[in-house]
Symmetry: C2
Subunit: 329 residues, 2 copies
């Protein structure tokens, strides 16, 4: 139970992590027992946490900056799904003792880049040594107007189901990294890998949805599983029309070669797009929102009174689905 | 990158962790993307996080309820050091795939017992599978009157240095678990092991100190290291009189047999007592506080204008110290 800490841990923290608290006096430059945040009056705090393990959620060979940015972004995606604004994060790293300073420097540089872009600041955390794989946990705190957080519940019969961006890129990016889809062009393969490495949390869209979406979720476990969460929490069913799914050129090319990959697109996860439901008749407002934010927003189906989640093909026949997608806390 | 989740994870969460959110509607029974907290007007949020790794911070053979309670309590000790009231926590567990339901059940039962006692509630988190040792992270959120959080900085020349409880029990408890101190009585050994397994976060004392302590910290890295943090952050020095250190009967017995263990008492850590500094002349108020809370509070030395941390023996000679104690984020 000795050697609980990394060699030079104190120096690494001072050099690479203290600068990430800049601009937030309540972090006390990581020099106190805890951080102190001043909530703004009239706003709720939104809190979420995710863990990523080397060899399971990322490859040891992945660039450390990408690992850091994905760790931050998957949490930001959860904030986006609640309509929250990012504020602060706690970072806890369990790192192998042979982790070198270059790795830590690149990891911190990735955080620095993204926290500047997304407007979030390191508030505190912990670093420890581990005999196992690197295990990285980030807890993100955001805020939202009191009582206005978006929820998974609240979808109503007749609502239209929308998604941001395109689906399946992350899951097929993972397939490429695992040696699959060798027929794809270099450009398509690169696009998919990039989307796997770097989710685009839809924070601006999420914040604007708080005034008119009935329900929202971020697609991390896969479209079917996450739409299933919305349906279950709302006590409704859902129908998706496969022909309406927004697909990138790369995913379209992959599906043309192997239509069975549709299951991966529907269930593979790692999209980190928003799925939300809205009363019909709001198409114009949504089109304006999509244009303002320069993000594609696509209607993919509708909420039904009951019946679980069904996916229909172009002829209206139900596509049989294995239960796919990852379940989490 | 598949098998990112534990077998039956969803069932384990529903069965063992959802009940820990009871009484907190903002956790949404772990059924949404994030938790939503309503801060009380006029109060700051205090946030801290710690990670414990099997084989490093605890033994795989430790009772899971003790592991859970220690994980919670080390975070509560950080809240205590800021004078904060516990509110909510996020729990992220990376567990080996062969973790059985009994382990999870006992772990959750330990949390249930302590969260009831300390008035804190599970708000959210994540569970994932790992190929390595169990890696457990808890982020605790508390609150405190706005602007009143205790800090490590603020100690002033002439302040008296106080500690709660007794020192060295946790570090010598670890020594017993590692096969040392075989000469101790069964009762003494049991006492020390218990103190190692179960810190007593001094929350009530911490909250009452916000009106008159100049600086505070919880002793997790060891008395010398943590007093050193206070001295550094405050820009002062400190003198400790070894003869004044509050010691349990078990630690006294161990020191009688081997006086070299004083280094472990001073530097071993795992005390989770509060150390704080206060202007001289407050002895009566402190005595009343100690009586109210039924916790021993002992003056062990004083803050000096400069000079680092020195420990004097009963004759006033300086005891040479190796640099001991663990450093962390």
């Amino acid at each position: 139970m000795n050697d609980r800490h990394l060699p030079d841990e104190f120096d690494l923290i001072a050099r690479y992590f203290v600068p990430l608290t800049k601009g937030f006096p309540g972090a006390f430059a990581l020099g106190d027992d805890a951080a102190v945040l001043h909530p703004e009056p009239g706003r709720d705090i939104v809190a979420t946490a995710d863990t990523m393990v080397a060899g399971i959620h990322f490859f040891n060979s992945d660039p450390p900056a990408f690992i850091a940015r994905k760790l931050l972004r998957v949490n930001l995606s959860d904030l986006a799904a609640m309509g929250a604004r990012p504020r602060y994060y706690l970072l806890t790293l369990a790192l192998p003792k042979d982790t070198d300073a270059e790795w830590v420097a690149a990891f911190a540089a990735g955080l620095a880049e993204d926290q500047e872009f997304y407007g979030i600041t390191l508030a505190g955390g912990d670093t420890v040594a581990t005999s196992g794989p690197a295990t990285l946990t980030l807890a993100a705190l955001g805020d939202v107007s009191a009582g206005k957080a978006l929820r998974r519940s609240g979808a109503q019969k007749g609502d239209r189901i929308y998604v941001t961006g395109t689906l399946g890129d992350g899951a097929l990016g993972l397939a490429v990294l695992q040696g699959g889809l060798a027929h794809l062009s270099k450009a398509h393969a690169t696009h998919l890998i990039d989307r796997y490495h770097l989710p685009r949390p839809r924070l601006a869209i999420g914040r604007k949805l708080i005034d008119f979406a009935h329900a929202a979720i971020d697609i991390s476990d896969g479209l079917i599983a996450d739409l299933g969460h919305v349906a279950t929490q709302s006590g409704v069913g859902a129908t998706v029309e496969a022909a309406r799914l927004p697909l990138s050129a790369a995913v379209t090319a992959a599906l043309e070669k192997d239509s069975d990959l549709l299951v991966t697109v529907l269930g593979g996860g790692d999209d980190y797009e928003l799925l939300f439901t809205i009363a019909q008749g709001k198409e114009e407002q949504l089109a304006a929102l999509a244009e303002d934010e320069a993000v594609k927003i696509t209607c993919i189906g509708r909420i039904e009174a009951m019946g679980g989640v069904r996916v229909l093909d172009a002829q209206g026949a139900e596509i049989p689905l294995k239960s796919t997608g990852f379940r989490h806390f």
